[in-house]
Subunit: 209 residues, 2 copies
Amino acid sequence: MKLYDFARAPSPRMVRIFMAEKGVEMETVQVDLMTAEQMGAAFAEKNPWLTVPVIELDDGTCISEISACCRYLEETHPEPPLMGRDAKEKAVVEMWNHHMFQEGFMAGAEALRNSAPPMKGRALAGPHNFEQIPDLAERGKARLGHFMTDLDARLGESKYVAGENYSVADITALVTVDFAGWVKVAPEDGHTNLKRWHEEMNARPSAKA
Amino acid sequence: MKLYDFARAPSPRMVRIFMAEKGVEMETVQVDLMTAEQMGAAFAEKNPWLTVPVIELDDGTCISEISACCRYLEETHPEPPLMGRDAKEKAVVEMWNHHMFQEGFMAGAEALRNSAPPMKGRALAGPHNFEQIPDLAERGKARLGHFMTDLDARLGESKYVAGENYSVADITALVTVDFAGWVKVAPEDGHTNLKRWHEEMNARPSAKA
């Protein structure tokens, strides 16, 4: 089993943190996104969507997308559970993780990819090219602002994002909060709940993954 | 247990098809999206993200978002499995379902919400208002075109979207193909694999859900 990774990218960091929380180690292959190695023919055979992370199983099956990599690890290494303990908790974790990803991480990607000069003509990851839309970069930044405020409110009523237990939703949120800094959005002074949680998350050894 | 639903909307249709495939029935409450009932205070207590579908459990817990509703049903009604049978298949189904949702369904939502006059000022679902971005409507339509072509290629190599077994990825893809018609994107004459699969999907009793 191998993880196709890029140390500086936020998406594979989510899977690395997930692995660290489970105590899973595997061979890692760096795919250099700075030289567009993920766009080359060799990597496209592993993942036609041209993204990291990818977990390649020993039989050659390649699992791409963060949520799918995490699902594989959760099923093969159930302890500690990071995607819920019973049917209700699994659904609640999925709900919160969906919101962290769509309203946080995707907003950050929208902001970055529609404004960064190296991503001109590549405003979406994947095999198809799209031009940047400057209004979408602005919308992404505005969404990230709402994300921080809404997450602060949530963490005023809940120890972790999805409830009483640490879960994949905390991992998605942590990586998103750090990633938001790339487009200069950060927790505000008044976000005391978010800051309390962010310090706790960063104190876990997995945060360094 | 109750499903908050709107018969004409594509998102809750995914959950209705999922339920029909499992043989699950539950009380259904129609939330009238045409009169913005989902924006009212009563519904916001059920789902602060102001969307259907929502499954309300008997203890009052409300599960919103399609993927979370399906996760709950999969865990409580495992047969027939619609999200994979073993760790590898679960991951592969998650990977394909992710692509159907992000590249298909979200592209359709992007196209519709950024162009339809009733959605002016409401280009994203949820509690925050965003203006329409016309370029994003165009991008959404272009993405749906790629989605059809890419799905046709996939269905040339695989009986179902995620492999040899019918899964939630087929449900997401079916609803997306039908939803694309709302913004006048449809399978093309040459998409023979996609058409073969679409006919098979529509022949299943669940398609009427």
